[in-house]
Subunit: 136 residues, 6 copies
Amino acid sequence: MATVKLIDYEEAGPEVRAVYDDIMATRKSDWVNNFWKALAVDPALLRRTWESVKQVMAPGALDPLTKEMIYVAVSATNGCGYCINSHTAVARAKGMNDAMLAEVLAVVGMANETNRLVQGFQVELDAVFADGGRKT
Amino acid sequence: MATVKLIDYEEAGPEVRAVYDDIMATRKSDWVNNFWKALAVDPALLRRTWESVKQVMAPGALDPLTKEMIYVAVSATNGCGYCINSHTAVARAKGMNDAMLAEVLAVVGMANETNRLVQGFQVELDAVFADGGRKT
Amino acid sequence: MATVKLIDYEEAGPEVRAVYDDIMATRKSDWVNNFWKALAVDPALLRRTWESVKQVMAPGALDPLTKEMIYVAVSATNGCGYCINSHTAVARAKGMNDAMLAEVLAVVGMANETNRLVQGFQVELDAVFADGGRKT
Amino acid sequence: MATVKLIDYEEAGPEVRAVYDDIMATRKSDWVNNFWKALAVDPALLRRTWESVKQVMAPGALDPLTKEMIYVAVSATNGCGYCINSHTAVARAKGMNDAMLAEVLAVVGMANETNRLVQGFQVELDAVFADGGRKT
Amino acid sequence: MATVKLIDYEEAGPEVRAVYDDIMATRKSDWVNNFWKALAVDPALLRRTWESVKQVMAPGALDPLTKEMIYVAVSATNGCGYCINSHTAVARAKGMNDAMLAEVLAVVGMANETNRLVQGFQVELDAVFADGGRKT
Amino acid sequence: MATVKLIDYEEAGPEVRAVYDDIMATRKSDWVNNFWKALAVDPALLRRTWESVKQVMAPGALDPLTKEMIYVAVSATNGCGYCINSHTAVARAKGMNDAMLAEVLAVVGMANETNRLVQGFQVELDAVFADGGRKT
């Protein structure tokens, strides 16, 4: 169980309830997952994190499904079980099927393998890749 | 510089040249980057890694640009400078602009932040997220 | 369960018992936690690790509570559940309350986020920060 | 060099300048470091990250120096050179001396060592440490 | 449980069965572990990963037991419970005893400690270690 | 450059000189590498770390070359450039050739890939691998 008490809506103060209400309204759902109930131990942390996640995951230059798949990729690299399960579930709800998940993780596996080969051999950067290929 | 000698085409044996030729043919380019020249110290490692990368990064359930952005996301999480620069360059060549790169990294940053909050508070998984939301 | 047999006091040899005795005397407690019972598979590893932990976590230029909070911060970054729970418990026993824990993890989350933004964008170091600001 | 163009004050638009102005006012300084100049490629990312850092690093249940030392500890664990140098410099400016830095890193080293020993031996959690020692 | 359905031999198609058959023949065993049953969601991923693992873990310049111990060392550093348990079990079957496991993990712990001390202090490389000591 | 002043033999106090002398005597060399010169900022940290490294890397159930290769494997996984270069150089001095280095890193790459596939799919442990295959 969590190292802080999870705070349910009923026992939450007005600051926390306001965030929970916005989470549910934004997601068109009637519940809040445990992550937010743990952050509620610190209402400022809860609000800041939710506002950030809401802003970052909104449609922009990338669509929300691509963003969720990147979230899964990072969480798999970090080995965070809660994060992998919850973001895989959200990505599925947004349209990711088994074939797409398998390809996300195939890239994750390959990137983790080649990252360590590059580092292990201490390969120096090719001049053409300097600055990540920007031309400005 | 690398911890093994980088092997140029001119000094490479036939096994290594065959892989280099396939890399250049696949990419429609006339050069091979340093990563492959380091792996060439072990021709079997070179061939296996190239065959895997070629297969994983080919179009499939996900398009090649999405795959490159996931590669960048993992490499940023692992802090591999060569990998970040080279895959950012390739992603740019495939159509990623500054706005898309900034959103990739914004998601990477947010996922790394929330991964550690989840782990730091040891949040238990909500039942609805079990098995990553699969229904089978 | 652990990949080696945990060794209880009763079945331990004299080398292991001597370390267990010192752990209990130092902590003014009457038991030894599982971490040490696993290390006891190799008495030299047990002794060396305990002597190091005892030395590092003792009061010095930093107070013991600050050291425990840094331990929690690193363990959260590494996602080690045992380590997070045990060092959070010890930090609580030394005076860390929920508000302090939330701030520790807020910093951990922020550092993990900005570490990846810096790496993802490959930001070059400002001259003024060279050598970590030392003036010698 | 960075994978995006660093944006100086002179060439920045009003959204970016407003954040730069707040950074300088908050820090009572007359310059902005490269990290923010990279984030400026995406003004929303710049603003959100700065607002978060400002909030998280402000005095609260923990003092600003303790927070900076935790930032250094996480950055050392992640191996982010820019982050280590810049936050070490800021921590020094807030009062951290060599002896304190050495103790921060001694704890970081010890935590990274024991985290991996715990994981490598797959040690099961002692019941007394469940929930990080909370009593609620 | 896994985020994809594990595929048993009975329900597998011919591509998957062919890989399962080769796994069992290579290992002289009559079952396949869950890792492969998860990868079977994507037969190309399954085949590629198995062919790679078979090639990498075969006897070569290093013997198979040394390779398994390196696998355990990396898995302990990454905190992957499944990987630690399964590769520890395989290493034991190949001759690793408790004393050897303890030394593997002692080196893993020490390397993780000193890696972070080096990074935390940002130690510059001695000239004699450039290129990992190669003389070519 | 390092975030603390590197301390040369000539300017070191007697505690530090005693450790430097032991390093040189143990290694039968006439110099000390930068890592130790950074740790010398805290003589207790220097002594403790050196005593631990000397003990851990000595011949035991594993030979010193195998231990060095495990050190390289962990350092490659963590991306510590100093550590990779220095331990690769030491391993070469102890007999590791290019073919062996390539196999070490091939295993490191494969382990990092499959670690993330296991975590990404959240594969549950097979009963036979429980406790890492120990029978006690």
